[in-house]
């Protein structure tokens, strides 16, 4: 195995990580305020579709990205209203929205474009690929960071910003307090329900950005159900990273790596098999993690 091969695996790891990381951050802030958001998948998928649709008609990358993020936030807002305001059951809301968005995108694909399955068109503009001036000439590192989009970089910055917000600011402290003990937070004047709704909507926006990367990053197309469970992988990543933004980076990279390895092995093993790798990793990781967790609890 030569270094160029390793570099390309790392490169594809980084690319696969971004959507998972963004959605996992969304999931993390929800669980930090005590909301179990199952609709990550829906929040991502709607953005995949909306961004490609806007892209098709406007050919503007910026508008597509904004539309994607907004559509994700919109689904997030629906979750917030149903789950936080009206206290509907989380699994029901999440599952319903995931199925609903899957069906709506398929339906709209046919209604607007008359297409089934996928939308590929040479009018579609992809996110511009960045090749950093000096770094691109360094042999190994250049290949590792080759052709990443601005959102790939942005996702790590978002994670760090979230970390600073949650753990260093007063507003973040109040936000965390809502998840720790909502009645206590309210008894001291924090508008807990509003914070919860804001955070769920924000998670929609983050997932939306993740969806945009998926449909306009490595490929520029929309296919039905193209998120293929990434929302659930993100959920695993968030829980593995204990909803801590910086740890979530690490856990997301782990799942990205599984996808990267899966892609790399496609030439050796059947693709159907390698595609299962991230999901197997999810289960194994969750089992190992919860085992360690429960033994830690016992010790206490």
């Amino acid at each position: 195995m030569n270094s160029a091969y390793i570099a390309s695996v790392i490169n594809s790891t980084l690319r696969s990580t971004t959507p998972i990381l963004l959605a996992a951050l969304g999931c993390a802030i929800c669980s930090r305020v005590g909301v179990f958001n199952v609709a990550l998948e829906a929040q991502m998928l709607i953005a995949c579709f909306t961004s490609i649709a806007v892209n098709y008609f406007t050919s503007s990358v910026l508008l597509s990205v904004l539309a994607g993020v907004l559509s994700g936030a919109l689904v997030g807002a629906v979750v917030a209203i149903l789950q936080v305001k009206y206290k509907a059951a989380d699994m029901v809301v999440g599952t319903a929205l995931n199925l609903l968005v899957g069906a709506i995108t398929t339906f709209l694909l046919y209604l607007i474009f008359g297409l089934r399955g996928k939308l590929v068109d040479n009018r579609l503009v992809s996110l511009s690929k960045i090749n950093l001036p000096v770094i691109k000439d360094i042999p190994f590192l250049g290949r590792v960071l080759e052709n990443l989009t601005i959102i790939d970089y942005l996702s790590y910055i978002i994670a760090i910003v979230l970390f600073v917000y949650l753990f260093k600011t007063v507003a973040g402290f109040r936000t965390l307090s809502v998840g720790i003990n909502k009645p206590a937070a309210e008894s001291l004047g924090t508008k807990a329900t509003r914070i919860q709704m804001e955070m769920v909507t924000l998670s929609g926006a983050l997932c939306g950005l993740g969806g945009v990367v998926l449909s306009m990053g490595q490929v520029t197309m929309f296919t039905e159900n193209m998120t293929s469970g990434r929302g659930f992988i993100a959920m695993a990543a968030a829980s593995l990273g204990m909803s801590h933004p910086l740890l979530v980076i690490a856990s997301s990279l782990f799942f990205g790596l599984c996808q990267g390895i899966g892609l790399a092995l496609q030439n050796v093993v059947k693709a159907q098999l390698t595609n299962t790798l991230p999901y197997i990793a999810t289960i194994v990781a969750l089992v190992l993690f919860s085992k360690r967790n429960s033994s830690a609890k016992l010790k206490k």
Partner: protein, 500 residues
């Protein structure tokens, strides 16, 4: 507070109540559960609005719509159920709501620690600001609540049943703290039904009963007897327990060991026996293995070694169901954790562990008529005040849910009853009632194992008393030989010289 009336539906929670408080004074508001003390305080703290009546502060009429209004007027409340962020530090909890900032945006945690330290020094209440609240014992958590109120700059501090969750030592510290705060010019209202605390700490006492203002008087002019008479509306009779012959051993615990997480055993070669027709008390400061003992006896925890012989059969390590059917009922120490499900209806609560009886179910199908009848009998016989069987267990007051649990366990008619803290946090009337029921059980010739941290309860009911200290039986007394001093010494880990 003048002419305060609060009506819930058709119930007068407060009926034309007056309350005055002077600066630097400690006022005790006493009354049984449901007497309307808490409602009155909630109105003062802005949590509830009165149906009619007025609140004046320094002569000014006030309208409190929320606790914020009350806090702004320097009224603070230490709630019975703490409102704390457990995974956070002491300092973070104290400054919450008025956090020190850096650059207007960032939380200045080192300033929070400094503020906490200054606050601690000012009021002489010591606590490590960096400690996590969840690592603090209950007494310290309450101290955090008090400091929180002090940080809000309250002049009037309301304590709602502050001693209900504390150990005797912690209660002592709390009362000292209250005295100190009063000396510093804070005005304090304490809601309680523990009358000896009132006698220790209060300047003035106000008695409430059934939502009504009954009487108030300076502490120096009253006595525990008078207060309890006013609270309950009748005299509580001193109980004479006639001696009774015992007939055969029901429970024999031999050499019970429960290993702890480190080398020290939680239960350390613990041996006791309980005979039919007697109440055996286990006295001890809580946290000396009582909880674990109960769990080992009832099958919730398998003991590491040793025997639990129940009516001739070794039940150590057997399941809860097996032990119950072998003849053991249990009034658990924490009524909400072990005793009932807060969201279960009264019917469901009542039939728990009775569900296999033929009048309640057949072939796995519940007989709802039978269950209703059974429940009604329990509610009536044990005087559980309720608003119908579909009411949720968690909605009953502490005393009433405890009576229902006592009822349910008594009606098991088992040869052995384990009663753990059967009267914790319930009012005088309920205490008397539960004690009588325990004594009736004894009269019937059943065995009762009473585990309590209330020494007076142990001493007045038990025929024999064991002291538990660090998981072993530190001493055994017949009722006649037991003195508070001797028990106290053993409970604190001392030894009695005359015994050696």
């Amino acid at each position: 507070m003048k002419h305060i009336t609060k009506v819930y539906g058709s119930l007068y929670a407060n009926d034309d109540v007056h309350l005055t408080l002077d600066k630097g004074e400690i006022l005790a508001v006493v009354g049984e559960n449901g007497a309307g003390k808490s409602t009155l305080m909630k109105i003062l703290y802005g949590l509830e609005q009165p149906t009619s009546g007025e609140i004046y502060l320094n002569g000014e009429l006030q309208h409190f719509r929320s606790p914020h209004d009350a806090i702004a007027k320097k009224i603070g409340m230490v709630q019975q159920h703490f409102m704390l962020l457990e995974p956070c530090t002491v300092a973070e909890n104290i400054v919450y709501g008025r956090e020190p900032r850096k650059n207007g945006l960032f939380f200045d945690r080192s300033a929070a620690i400094r503020i906490t330290e200054e606050l601690c020094d000012k009021y002489g209440l010591h606590i490590d600001p960096r400690r996590l609240v969840k690592d603090c014992p209950v007494g310290l958590q309450q101290r955090v609540e008090i400091l929180k109120v002090l940080y809000q700059d309250a002049d009037i501090i309301i304590f709602d049943e502050p001693s209900a969750v504390l150990t005797p030592q912690e209660v002592g510290e709390l009362l000292a703290t209250m005295r100190k705060l009063a000396q510093m010019g804070k005005s304090i209202i304490i809601i309680t039904h523990k009358l000896h605390e009132v006698m220790t700490v209060a300047d003035r006492v106000m008695v409430m009963r059934l939502g009504k203002y009954i009487q108030e008087m300076p502490k120096s002019e009253t006595s525990i007897e008078e207060m309890s008479f006013l609270m309950v509306g009748r005299h509580i009779v001193e109980r004479e327990v006639p001696p009774q012959e015992t007939t055969g051993t029901v429970l024999d615990v031999q050499d019970l060991v429960l290993a702890g997480p480190d080398e020290k055993n939680i239960l350390d070669h613990f041996s006791i026996h309980v005979d039919a027709g007697e109440i055996v008390g286990i006295a001890g400061v809580s946290g000396n293995g009582q909880s674990e003992l109960i769990q080992c006896l009832t099958g919730l925890l398998p003991p590491t070694s040793g025997q639990v012989v129940l009516r001739g059969q070794n039940m150590a390590g057997r399941s809860v169901g097996d032990i119950r059917s072998a003849g053991c009922a249990c009034i658990p120490e924490d009524r909400y954790l072990w005793g009932c499900a807060a969201k279960a209806s009264l019917t469901e609560t009542s039939i728990m562990a009775h569900q296999y009886k033929p009048e309640l179910s057949r072939h796995g199908l519940l007989n709802s008529k039978g269950a209703k009848g059974f429940t009604q009998k329990l509610l009536n016989d044990y005087d559980v005040r309720n608003s119908g069987q579909s009411q949720k267990a968690g909605e009953l007051s502490g005393g009433n849910i405890q009576k229902l649990i006592v009822a349910r366990e008594m009606e098991q008619n088992s040869p052995l009853l384990i009663a753990a803290e059967p009267t914790r946090g319930v009012d005088i009337g309920a205490i008397e009632f539960i004690h009588n029921k325990l004594l009736q059980k004894r009269e019937k010739g059943d065995a009762v194992l009473l585990i309590s941290s209330e020494l007076t309860e142990i001493m007045s009911l038990s025929d024999r008393i064991y002291v538990i200290y660090e998981g072993h039986a530190a001493g055994e007394f017949r009722k006649a030989d037991a003195t508070e001093e001797a028990l106290g010494i053993l409970m604190m880990g001392g030894t009695l010289h005359e015994n050696e």
